[in-house]
């Protein structure tokens, strides 16, 4: 009972924080719209009422800023959840959502789609999504032998495949010509030009996947003790590993497909939350996901509030890395 009470309290608090960040974020931009006005417009849209705000403000809030915030929240949510699972799964503090080559695969798919002279059905996100899943599945196959997938082999196979795909991406970029700028921009991670459609599709993949991970939170806890221990406590180790790997890769792939490669959210947020709530995944997983959502919305607000918009991936790394180093130096981050 203790755990569920603590979980509810944290989740409640983080939901409120996310709502507050979203509200402030909506108010920020080239056109300044008051927080009260934003709330008014959002509530009116939600409840089907009317708002006194000018039509231009309504369009800015409902069609430009809110879809972007929603997408940012979904992406941050997915990356932080997947990062939490990967760190636990690999029992390695440096594990991030892309550790099995998901981001490298997505980048390859996306850059290929940008550079290729033919148009891809369903466009760039579909190519990135397909590339991500193909890469992850390839790494899994490379690391599996005789029905077992040792995590160390998986880690190394992931690094090898990421390096190889990095070479492929570099080659494509060298030959990209006029498409270079677009490709680079995608690689840096971005949330601009987001639509409600993208946000809805991403959420449709992310939320069920997340619920699936949540069901396995207790198994993930036991897995942290080591695979042999987990086996002796009744966990079907290989099946659970396959499932966790597949679902968190799906989460990451859907985030990367719509927003490009956004680093550090999936690495730092789970660490911070582990410091705050402890290692129990029943509470760590939902709190990390919500904190990831709030973090990405906040950093994206920074990214677009300057004179010229910069890719959000730059901001997450620029903000996240010093914070992470601070934690490292104060020795509060330990290997998961």
């Amino acid at each position: 009972m203790r755990v569920s009470v603590r979980t509810s309290a944290w989740v409640g608090g983080l939901c409120a924080a996310l709502a507050a960040v979203a509200l402030v974020s909506t108010a920020v931009g080239p056109v300044t719209i008051g927080v009260g006005s934003v709330a008014d417009i959002a509530l009116a849209a939600l409840l089907g009422g009317t708002s006194d705000a000018p039509a231009s403000h309504r369009i800015i809030v409902l069609s430009i800023r809110l879809p972007r915030i929603a997408l940012g929240a979904v992406v941050g949510f997915a990356l932080a959840a997947a990062g939490t699972v990967m760190q636990g799964f690999f029992r390695n503090p440096m594990a991030d959502p892309s550790i099995v080559g998901v981001s490298a695969g997505a980048a390859t798919g996306a850059v290929a789609a940008i550079v290729a002279p033919v148009s891809v059905p369903f466009g760039l996100p579909a190519a990135a999504f397909a590339g991500a899943l193909i890469a992850a599945f390839g790494v899994y196959l490379l690391a599996s032998e005789g029905g077992r997938t040792p995590v160390q082999t998986l880690l190394l196979a992931g690094i090898a495949v990421q390096t190889f795909l990095g070479a492929v991406v570099s080659f494509l970029l060298v030959n990209a010509g006029r498409d270079l700028r677009e490709a680079i921009y995608w690689l840096m991670g971005h949330l601009h030009d987001s639509t409600w459609g993208e946000a809805t599709v991403a959420a449709a993949v992310v939320l069920p996947s997340f619920c699936c991970l949540l069901v396995y939170a207790r198994d993930l806890n036991v897995l942290l003790l080591g695979e042999e221990d987990a086996h002796s406590l009744g966990i079907e180790v290989e099946r659970t590993k396959r499932l966790l790997l597949a679902v968190s890769s799906l989460l990451t792939a859907s985030a990367v497909a719509v927003a490009g490669v956004i680093g550090f959210v999936g690495l730092v947020v789970p660490h911070v939350m582990r410091l705050l709530v402890g290692p129990d995944h029943r509470i760590l997983l939902p709190t990390s996901a919500l904190a990831g959502a709030a973090f990405l919305v906040a950093t994206d607000t920074l990214a677009r509030s300057g004179a010229a918009e910069i890719p959000v991936g730059i901001v997450t790394a620029a903000v996240g890395a010093p914070f992470f180093l601070y934690l490292l130096r104060t020795r509060e981050v330990s290997a998961p």
Binding site: D219, V222, S232, L233, G234, V237, G278, P336
Partner: protein, 433 residues
């Protein structure tokens, strides 16, 4: 908690062979464990104890052979069902995640809790009871990363208790424990066996294994070398062969169960015959040292039940005995004189001086190659009055007086000198009355 069919052994290991990278670790191991018994796996490092346990839990698939637990092949059961049958305490669990102790113990309930459900009050009670039994309740709210190694071992024992399985497998459950907690842990395991559970544990400490286990399996080089009740498994010969050392097995004076003392594997290179005048256990540490150094030993005269006599017998030394507490008779004097005469060196242990053994000490004092171990002021050991003082003075006068730590070196030197002397110059002792 007992097996429904009493004729089915709890664990049946049949001709199991395991090799890692071409190196054989288990080589055709077969054994059975009956329900409700406490079986200890003993043997040297690398004997295959851990591998055997992992083969039984199913963490490892043998290259050949079968393992059945309660008549079932564990590998064919779903993990959940298997883990309700067998609980395992691993050798070392390097948990780097800071779960608190209660949470770790609660993980033992994993096989009993539905994935979508939450733990019931019965589960919570089982967790608290397990912590209480393993004496880790005080640690319940501390992170497992911050408790000591020995405490962590008890935490994982508690987890296995919470798992509530009829069969427990433990790999070195006492390796990190202090002597008090070693005994406590084994007492817990014994009480589990009394309740009808089956316990198989790899145990490093042979004495504790002998004390608590109903049966032992002695492993060495991937095979079971001996199997049965502790007294039949732990003999000088089996232990020496398995551990590749010289060992002596005697009954422990307090517990009455087998107690093993290992001495260095390789006998030293020293040669020569040393006669030791012993008694009351004063010579026991000296005898071990001299034996280890490689000397041939004769000992006596000592009472048949004397501790020194027991040591001498365990080391295979030539022994002159007299009935307990009896004075040294003529036969024993003759036998002692003969041995002192033959010896390359004669060593007098810091024995008590009593009317009964003065004659033996006089024989020793006459030896031309005498080493006397300093026993401190004579008054403390003398129960023979002026005669005792005279004998002690003579011994000190005629022999090299050394402390116990330099005995081996001194004896070595004396033996080397003796080689240059004739040995049949034993004078008729002027001290003889």
């Amino acid at each position: 908690m007992t097996d429904p069919d009493d004729t089915t052994p709890a664990i049946a290991v049949d001709d199991v062979t395991v090799a890692f990278g071409g190196v054989s670790v288990l080589d055709g191991v077969s054994t059975t464990v009956q329900s409700g018994t406490f079986v200890g796996l003993v043997g040297p490092n690398g004997a295959g104890k851990t591998t055997l346990i992992r083969s039984i839990t199913g963490a490892l698939t043998p290259d050949a052979g079968t393992v059945e637990v309660a008549g079932e092949r564990l590998a064919n059961l779903p993990s959940r069902a298997a883990s309700r049958l067998v609980a395992t305490v691993p050798q070392s669990t390097a948990s780097t995640f800071a779960f608190d102790v209660r949470r770790i113990v609660a993980m033992g309930r994993t096989p009993h809790v539905d994935r979508l459900g939450s733990p019931t009050p019965a589960d919570h009670r089982a967790v608290e009871a397990a912590m209480d039994r393993a004496a880790v309740t005080d640690l319940a709210d501390r992170p497992v990363t911050e408790v000591s190694g020995g405490e962590r071992q008890r935490v994982f024992l508690a987890r296995a208790l919470a798992q509530d399985a009829p069969i427990l497998l433990l790999d070195e459950p006492t390796s990190d424990l202090d002597v008090n907690h070693q005994v406590q842990t084994l007492e817990i395991l014994s009480s589990l066996v009394d309740e009808g559970r089956t316990v198989v544990a790899a145990i490093h400490d042979l004495d504790l294994a002998a004390r608590y286990c109903d049966e032992l399996r002695l492993l060495a080089d991937g095979r079971i070398r001996a199997s049965g009740p502790p007294a039949s498994v732990l003999t000088d010969d089996t232990v020496a062969a398995a551990f590749d050392t010289q060992a002596t097995v005697v009954d422990h004076p307090v517990t009455g169960t087998a107690s093993v003392t290992a001495v260095a594997a390789d006998a030293g290179d020293a040669t020569g015959h040393v006669h030791v005048v012993a008694g009351g256990g004063a010579a026991t540490p000296l005898l071990y040292r001299l034996d280890t150094a490689g000397f041939d030993l004769s000992v006596g005269p000592v009472g048949t039940a004397d501790r020194d006599a027991e040591t001498a017998r365990a080391l295979g030394a030539d022994l002159v005995t007299v009935p307990p507490y009896a004075p040294v008779d003529d036969a024993a004097q003759t036998a002692t004189t003969e041995r002192v005469r033959r010896a390359d060196a004669t060593l007098v242990a810091p024995v008590a001086l009593a009317d009964g053994n003065l004659s033996a000490l006089r024989i020793a004092a006459a030896s031309p190659s005498l080493v006397v171990v300093d026993g401190g002021p004579v008054e403390a050991r003398n129960h023979a009055g002026a005669a005792g003082r005279r004998v002690d003075a003579a011994l000190r006068d005629r022999g090299d007086v050394v402390d116990a730590d330099s005995v081996v070196d001194t004896v070595r030197a004396v033996v080397a000198d003796t080689d240059a002397l004739t040995r049949d110059t034993l004078p008729e002792a002027d001290l003889r009355r």
